[in-house]
């Protein structure tokens, strides 16, 4: 195992062989490579197996409600811009329960990184179809096969105006780390959807499927063409991995908010009430 200042030494409750271990490793390597102080990092999550990840890192751990990590993370970042804020969760958490927040967080463009551990199944609740499960997969609650079409998170994110969209794979921790580094450095909302197997409940999208059905894009490619990004995000078998789209010139949510407009980054906790201005309003 790698050793970083972000390493946690307690028990981890994931299944042996779970893809989440690899994603955790990539995330820690990325934070370490960026030289971040753990006291400046907040990792926020909702509920699910992947959403336990903040507990397995040495930094500020925020574990909220199912599907609600994005509003939580947005509130944190807009209250203290000096923090590096990462929202992490699974496909059910982010795209199902939190689907509405996913779309609107993207539109808002807060300067946060959104890591989605996409194993195409519900793990914590023991194997029901998720928003990204393939049509036809038989599960405990869809015994005759899933009938709803899988959601395409990359295409949805692009259509909502995402400023950074990437897909990675738990099968390649190093390349995934590189993408997370880029995502954290990106100014604005960054989606990193990470394919990972669920060794307990998903018998289709296995480690073997991952290596057979994906291909890495050239790391140095120009990812500024949105139409090209949309086309790439619709490619399947193999599914492209890498940075699909990025646009660095866009205003973030925080930058548009009154407290920060003048360039003053003082966190909200140390700002006092604007009593003089309130008195003026009462004149």
């Amino acid at each position: 195992m790698i050793r970083t200042v972000f390493d946690y030494t307690g028990e981890i409750s994931w299944c042996p062989g779970c893809g989440d271990y690899k994603i955790l490793e990539s995330l820690k390597m990325a934070l370490d490579e960026l030289g971040l102080d753990p006291h400046e990092v907040v990792v926020a999550s909702g509920i699910g197996q992947a959403a336990k990840m903040p507990h397995y890192l040495k930094c500020h751990c925020v574990n909220g409600l199912h599907g609600r990590s994005l509003p939580l993370a947005t509130g944190i970042k807009a209250s203290n811009r000096s923090l590096t804020v990462i929202a992490v969760g699974g496909d059910g958490d982010m795209y199902g329960e939190g689907g509405n927040h996913f779309m609107h967080a993207i539109r808002r463009n807060p300067d946060i990184t959104n890591i989605v551990c996409n194993n195409m199944i519900y793990g914590l609740t023991k194997g029901q179809g998720s928003p990204t499960t393939a049509v036809g997969m038989k599960t405990s609650t869809q015994p005759f096969g899933v009938t709803s079409r899988p959601l395409n998170p990359l295409l949805l994110a692009l259509s909502c105006g995402a400023t950074f969209v990437a897909r990675a794979s738990a099968a390649d921790a190093e390349k995934t780390k590189n993408i997370i580094v880029q995502a954290i450095k990106h100014k604005g909302y960054a989606l990193v959807d990470i394919f990972q197997p669920c060794v307990s409940f998903n018998k289709v999208n296995t480690w073997q499927w991952l290596s057979k059905s994906t291909k890495w894009l050239d790391e140095g490619r120009d990812a500024s063409d949105k139409l090209e990004a949309m086309r790439l995000s619709m490619e399947t078998d193999p599914y492209p991995l890498g940075i699909i789209y990025r646009s660095e010139q866009e205003k973030t949510f925080e930058e548009s908010q009154a407290p920060y407009e003048t360039g003053d980054d003082t966190p909200l906790y140390s700002r006092m009430p604007a009593l003089e201005n309130i008195r003026k309003l009462l004149d």
Partner: protein, 575 residues
Amino acid sequence: MEKVHAPGSEVTISFCAAAGLGLQTAEDLARQMLTKAGYYVFSTREYMSRVRGGNNSTQIRVSRKPVRAYVDRIDWLFALSPQLRPNITENITDDTKILGDASAMGQEIASLGRTMIDLDLAKRASDLGSPKFSSMIVAGFIAGIFMLGEDSADTLIEKRFKDPDLSDKNKKAFRVGYGLGVDHVGGTPVLQVPDKPDNDEVFLDGNSAVALGAASAGCNYITAYPMSPGTGVFTFFAKNAKLFSAVVEQVEDEISAINMVVGAAYAGARAMTTTSGGGFVLMCEGLSLAGITETPVVVHLAQRPGPATGLATRTEQADLELALYAGHGEFPRALYAPVNVESAFRIAGQAFHTAHKYQVQSVILTDQYLLDTGYDVRRPDPSSVPAPIPPVRTDIDYKRYAFPAEGEYVSPFGVPGYGEGFVSFDSHEHTEDAHITEDRTLRKNMVDKRLKKKEALKSEALPPIVIGPENYDTVVVCWGSVFEPLKEAMEILGSRNTVLVACEQVYPISEELCRIMKSPFRKIFVEGNATGQFSRVVRSQTGIGADELILKYNGFQFTVEELVAKLGSLLGVKS
């Protein structure tokens, strides 16, 4: 006994018009001119849930003494759009002067068996260049009947219309109306200006009062999903975001609204979200999150009639039990109910103070009536609101949920990025350092830790406002916005053995209220709901509730006359 309306002591003006006619200008101007002239002025609005059309009304009470409440009586009715609604037509009497355009309203007024004074507004306005000027003619007419001077609105008009040409035309329209008004009263003003003490006053409505109180407490993060009548507070913040240096965000739904403020408050912002009952229901899960994570959050719950969509733009007091029981699991909370505009400012500040002092959730229960009601109040002092409580600087061993020291109720509140410690947050039952646990003893201790705060909340609960004689045998209890109409009604009834008890905090209830409830006296609760919710809440805490209830739930606030009649009949007093 004194009438609501002693002759010569006040004049009540009602404006009725379809939405979208720009009547607001006339109302605002009338209110400002009359205040400036030295009268006591009260105004309240009721409106239909539509953007255009319908028939909405504004009541302005102009008085020689302070007025704070809604009445039935109409002295001057500006009937500017057809299809007056029953809440107006039922209150027209032989003494009501009905004014407007006979061409538009003549038939309708005749069908009510009444006659009207034709102001020929449409034609006069067109002669001035646009039908839009009718509103200004009405404003001028009002200035005329009070004989305020034909230039009495000039500065207000200049302030409103920056374009000099438009400003001049409006002044002209105002003067046309002014002449008509003066002629109508034959040179004698309808009401003498009172000898008003020179208090430092400002006109404030409920919406502004809640927002300004919150801002004075340092509120610097507010979210909302638009929903009447909770939106007014948000609009006020949005408009003044720079002055308040506040993050203001309209979110995708109320679930996001509450979760975002929980995140903000965790990071140290002083955060509030504003909504109405239907939106508050969506916040229940988030409120529960704030409960287990001991995150200080303020929710403004502007009540309107339910269930479901109910009456979207009307008023009611039926979400008390919702607020009390909202959220799964057991956690403490403080519920406030401002009784009037002054109270709304003070209580908003108090709600923040309590939330941060005890790391709990405060809910401010207002309603459409209170929010849309305004009058002159002694200018509130922003520095009278308790100053924000700063977070602690964390050390390396910091634990967000450390068990408090003996005699304390809370763990020190740290924020991420300030100090050497990790500040964590967990929706699960958690250890002192905020990690998931299923330890049975720890679980029980954490529940006890959170619920122990109830003791402190109870001991600091605001005592009720008590008005009346020292010796009494009857207690009339209310909460929230029923206070002012009830107070005026009780003044009129003048019962010598009755006290009014008005609660600004409805949970936990104060020791003072407990004592009053345990007294052997007769208890009458007056509430704007159908089942007596506050009586039930009080009973659940004291074992004693109302002996009798006076309830209203048709979407409108009690009027003074109505309470005089209902309470008078219970007390055996006639006004």
